[in-house]
């Protein structure tokens, strides 16, 4: 019933996205992420579909050149799948047999695709083969007809390119370039010198072909771009060089007409070269992180870049940043740990360099990115960058403390920053910056979590490798002219036998502070800052400590380097129990007594969940995953989940998330993968997928007319009404913004179109409508009516007996008049 490995959120940036392709009307963006292919909407950045089915990493995706609604994907599991990505259903699966490392589907190849497979019998040698994709019936087809096209090719998608109309194929590896002409069956090899001259490095990094001319562009490890021509001849070939990048060219892309060449690399600058000349170039700088792939949409209107930090940027054809699609940003190193923002329940961790990302687990979206370091990040290898290392939130999320340090060993440039959440701007604002809060690296930091006492009692404790821990308190500024009323300053410095402080932690009620100094855990009274008592479990340094919660608040849990998990009773000051376990992560659940411990033993991570008051674990999951789990966090659920199995009761109030050393985010879930995926995979309406062409507009008009005719024919009213209402809304949504009238004008129309008018409610009202219609017809003869009335009035005196009846008639007429007015009021809208 449950998925043993948990759901792997699509955070894997290993995925090659070379097949990232935009659909002709630029509506969808397809991207291979891990084992899945994701479909994004270009206009809303939303994930529309997650197509899973491959058993291993997806290595390449290509649109079917003959049907733009279909997609080929190849995977390491040895299959090529043909998808209908509109509906997210696999149409066919071709089993090739060996690992597929790249996939190409040039339009010229009728019913075959080209894949890169490892050469049999040799390690690290790959060959390009063409696979016959038979049109046999059935979903699973064996594709065994392989014919080798090129030997000794690069394993990456970027190392092979197909030329103009599929006439030739180019492959680069190391310093060699091979061109194979299909028609002439001719193979030309060119090689560059391997000698690394002054700053030069001729190794190829990527290759693309000009879409209309015989021209090959290659990127090199030293940042040069070479444009090859005349490569039909073995000797008289020429190349020209474009050089701007100072580091390896990660990817290249030609525009549809071939007039522009885009290149990107580590500098995270997208360079646009015009007409293959080095003097004309445009830049789009500061894209955030190194560019890994560049892809043009098939109509050339958009271009997207995929970055190493798992982000897709969509760029207009005039080289303007349009929007970006980002989930969990992959940072170089998650030093901050997994922290949960109490306000938004978002997961907080390192994001872009120097930024803190707030990642919403529900929507798989980055809520926002807070710039902590506030410094221009230079994308260059070998620089000592400063980055965020510690983050702590106060209990209610009003205060955020961050520590940043630079990688330099001698001068870490430590900065402790305290941020206050401003309700007006709805974001964190810097309140206090403390330079060099400790003389050495800060190892741990925590706030005193006291909900009931309010912010006045807020205390921050930092533990440092300079053998002290420091207590920071808020100080109110008495000067009325000062800009801010509170600031933070150091209140107390504590140390213990000149040992390095490694961890710190407050008890649940905030009265005790536990600070671990190498082998010893010390307990301090948070009011007087007296040392109360010490615990230790030699040998081995303390790795983690935490206090028990709720009913177990009298226990202190500690894990040591030597593989012991100890539980001390604070009332008796004695060891309650200890267990032999190499604990890597110790994470208490804030809402229950449970504590999760993740151990790392012989290449597998295991999870133990226990309560401090009983040494027997509540839950054990051995072999949780092959990767080392570095961090874990309990994220409180919005509402307790109903869990029938007693084994998983500890998951009722909060959910456990893990981050592995490959930066994959995982969770434990009692539901199966399919159950979790269903809500996200909505059906894409076919109608919506149709591009808005004059023809479709015509068609739409025709349909609308037909719909109205249907009404006249008395077909089910409710259904038709909806049909009628939708075009109004649609028109509103599809009209370009600049021709729309003002919103205040549209608002009434829009709201009225949403109203369910009376006619649909009952047959009587329909009849009413008919009556009104007839009245409308009478409208023209209104004057006649009046004259008639006058006539009646004159005869009034004579026929006294009929007066009551007549009066009622005139009343009725007046009523009708009122109704008429009403109707005109409605029709105005």
């Amino acid at each position: 019933r449950r998925c043993p490995r948990g759901l792997r959120l699509p955070r894997d940036a290993r995925a090659p996205s070379a097949g990232m392709t935009a659909f002709p009307p630029c509506r969808y963006l397809l991207c291979a992420l891990g084992d899945f292919v994701k479909v994004y909407s270009v206009s809303t950045e939303e994930t529309l579909r997650l197509m899973g089915g491959h058993a291993d990493l997806v290595t390449g995706i290509q649109l079917n050149p003959h049907n733009h609604m279909q997609l080929y994907s190849s995977s390491l599991d040895g299959t090529i799948k043909l998808w209908d990505f509109m509906d997210g259903i696999p149409i066919k699966t071709f089993t090739v047999g060996s690992k597929l490392l790249a996939l190409y589907t040039p339009a010229s190849a009728e019913d075959s695709a080209f894949v890169v497979i490892p050469k049999k019998g040799e390690r690290d040698t790959f060959q390009l083969v063409s696979v016959k994709l038979t049109k046999g019936a059935g979903q699973n087809v064996e594709a065994k007809e392989l014919s080798v096209v090129l030997d000794d090719v690069g394993a990456s998608m970027k190392h092979i390119a197909f030329g103009r109309e599929g006439a030739y194929v180019v492959s680069v590896k190391d310093v060699n370039l091979q061109v194979y002409f299909f028609k002439r069956k001719l193979l030309n090899r060119f090689s560059l010198s391997t000698v690394k001259t002054k700053g030069g490095d001729n190794h190829f990094s990527c290759v693309v072909c000009h879409p209309t001319e015989d021209c090959i562009a290659t990127g090199h490890a030293d940042g040069k771009i070479r444009l090859w021509r005349n490569f039909h001849h073995k000797k008289e070939y020429t190349y020209s060089t474009l050089h701007w990048h100072h580091d390896i060219v990660m990817d290249l892309a030609f525009s549809m007409e071939g007039t522009r060449l885009l290149s990107g690399g580590v500098e995270s600058v997208l360079v646009q070269w015009h007409n293959e000349s080095s003097c004309q170039k445009d830049f789009l700088p500061r894209l955030g992180s190194p560019i890994e792939y560049i892809s043009m949409s098939s109509d050339g209107a958009l271009c997207c870049t995929l970055h190493t930090d798992n982000r897709i940027t969509i760029i207009n054809s005039n080289l303007r940043f349009s929007r970006s699609i980002q989930g969990l940003i992959k940072s170089r190193d998650v030093k901050t740990g997994l922290v949960v923002d109490p306000r938004t329940k978002a997961l907080v961790l390192n994001g872009e360099p120097g930024h803190l990302q707030f990642y919403s687990l529900q929507s798989d979206q980055q809520l926002f990115s807070l710039d902590i370091v506030q410094r221009q990040y230079i994308h260059q290898a070998g620089l000592k960058q400063s980055d965020l290392v510690k983050v702590a939130f106060s209990a209610r999320g009003t205060w955020l403390a961050t520590v940043e340090e630079s990688e330099e060993v001698t001068d870490p440039e430590l900065q402790l920053k305290l941020w206050f959440y401003s309700e007006e701007t709805q974001s964190f604002q810097l309140n206090t910056r403390i330079n060099t809060p400790h003389d050495n690296h800060i190892t741990d930091m925590c706030f005193r979590d006291m909900d009931e006492l309010g912010d006045d009692s807020l205390i921050l404790v930092t533990a440092g490798r300079d053998c002290v821990f420091k207590v920071w308190v808020m100080v109110e500024d008495t000067d009325p002219e000062a800009q801010q009323s509170v600031s933070w300053s150091c209140d107390f410095v504590g140390s213990y036998h000149n040992y390095q402080a490694t961890n710190c932690c407050f008890s649940e009620d905030g009265s005790l502070l536990a600070v671990s100094f190498e082998e010893t855990v010390t307990l301090w009274d948070s009011l007087t800052w007296d040392l109360k008592c010490t615990f230790c479990h030699p040998p081995g340094n303390i790795r983690n400590i935490c206090f028990g919660r709720l009913t177990c608040s009298k226990y202190l849990i500690g894990a040591t380097d030597y593989g012991f998990l100890c539980c001390w009773n604070l009332l008796t000051c004695a060891l309650e129990w200890s267990a032999h376990l190499n604990v890597v992560v110790l994470q208490p659940d804030p809402l229950s007594e449970h504590i999760a411990a993740v151990s790392w033993l012989s290449k597998e991570s295991s999870l133990f969940v226990f309560k401090p008051n009983e040494p027997r674990p509540v839950y054990i999951q051995r072999n949780l995953c092959k990767e080392k789990i570095l961090l874990a966090a309990f994220v409180p659920r919005d509402e307790p989940e109903i869990i029938s199995s007693e084994k998983y009761l500890w998951l009722r109030k909060s959910q456990l998330f893990f981050l592995t050393d490959t930066q994959e985010l995982m969770t434990l879930s009692t539901k199966s993968l399919e159950e979790r995926l269903t809500p996200s995979s909505k059906q894409l309406a076919v109608e919506e997928s149709l591009p808005v062409t004059p023809f479709s507009l015509l068609l739409g008009k025709h349909r609308r007319q037909q719909a109205q005719e249907d009404v006249d024919l008395g077909k089910p009213v409710v259904h038709n009404k909806q049909e009628q209402a939708s075009p109004a809304v649609k028109e509103l949504l599809h009209t370009p913004a600049h021709v729309l009238p003002s919103a205040s004008f549209l608002c009434t129309i829009f709201i009225n179109s949403l109203l369910i008018s009376k006619e649909n409610k009952s047959a009587e009202e329909v009849a009413d409508e008919v009556e009104m219609e007839s009245e409308k017809a009478e409208d023209d003869s209104d004057e006649e009516d009046v004259t008639e009335m006058e006539q009646e009035d004159t005869s009034h005196m004579e026929l006294l007996g009929e007066t009551t009846c007549k009066l009622s008639k005139s009343q009725e007429k007046e009523l009708r008049k009122i109704r008429k007015m009403d109707y005109s009021w409605i029709s105005a809208f």
Partner: protein, 520 residues
Amino acid sequence: MAAYKPVVVQACPKLGEKITQDTLYWRGYKTPVQIKEFGAVNKIDFSPVPPYNYAVTASSRIHIYGRYSQEPIKTFSRFRDTAYCATYRDDGRLLAAGCEDGIVRLFDIGGKAPLRQFEGRSKPVHVVGFLSDKYRIFSGGDDYSSHLWDIPSATEIISYSEHTDYVRCGCASKVNADVFITGSYDHTVKLFDARAKSSVMTIEHGHPVESVLLFPSGGLLVSAGGRYVKVWDVLKGGQLLVSLKNHHKTVTCLCLNSSGQRLLSGSLDRHVKIYSTTSYKVVHSFNYATSILSLALSPEDETIVVGMTNGVLNVKHRKPEEKNEKSQKKRQPAYRTYVKGRTYMPKQEDFCVSKPVKRVLRKYDKLLRGFQSSKALDAVLEPPIMLHTPEVTVAVMQELHRRGTLRSALAGRDEKQVNLLLTFVARRVIEPRFTPVLVTVADMITDIYQPVVGQSAIVDKQFLKLQEAIGKEIDYQEELLEVLGMMDTLFATFTKKKDTCLEENKSNGLTEMIKTNRNY
């Protein structure tokens, strides 16, 4: 896509005195004019009427100075001995002064010889003052008594002998024509009413009273004596309001500014302190070369005149108000362009498109954005930036160091630029906030320009200066460490068990020893 982030210049909180409105106000004086008198200046009094001349009593003369004159415009020298306490009458036309010979003299501003002489005392008269009805004079002196004289008849009206020591200061009430106070070395201030036969009130100051002052409202009385300045509420029967102890030597003179908002006190410790009369906190202080005996402030606070024990008169004039209107006007656009479009009210159907705000980058930021390291360094080595905002220069150097281009930015400079760089480094390297960065810069400069040492005398001189600065700093730090060590020892001795948390671990053994000692 993020915009370029400008270099963060670390703003350092200014230690020491904060810049307040008061400091700005009291700093607004020109460099003082020093005038040498014949002896210690014991009294300075401003004429209450324009052009606000002031009378300076020193030795056996009274000099009258004009507002900007450095030479006395008039001198009264008909004294046989030291003159004391030349005071103007409210209308500024008469001047009274006491003398060592016990005669009180009354002068007309225009004349030279005294109009009246009030005789009958043999002991020196140190204090003289006009009552606010203009027709009576009070005096006090070394005969422990104070007297009241009638000006027209030059006769004594009444005499009070209540003090038990020399009377050295006094002041008449501006509200009541009959009330005056005197302060004496017998530690008391006495309030007299001319209608009563004896003193009305006695206030115990606690130290020999050197100066007294009544607030214009007459409700508050300020007395100065010893190191204390005390403020008393007269209406509450002489209740002590505040006692100020901001000087570390005897306070000799008191003075109020023209608005009555600030109280000034001068002392033998060479300081003039300015207090706010609402909070009684020191808002500013002046430093002088020698001990101060007398102090006066002209109406509108235009001039501060301070008299010293060595006979120097220190005159400070207020700077004229700076008018930058001309330069500002140039920058402002024409009224037409300024107003253009501002008055347009968008109609209901109008679609408002907000224009993106143009970010203005500093010159060095622009250059850094374009990775032009050397030019960026050049930009911050310009004298205005280097002199007035050294933190900007250092921040850019740090940024270049982070980018790994500091060495190439420092290299390849000519003699003049190296000289400039070294001057900056040698001057600033000892400032703690700049030290980490500038030490690396100094290292790099020495590395780069090592081969050319000896080719330029100017650069060599700068290198020597740098060496000297660093050597001095090292010596200084060594001394500081020594002091710190001594203080640590002292603190450790005083530490009790109760508050050992801070030093617990270091002094654990020591405190235990103390404890055992006490037990014995």
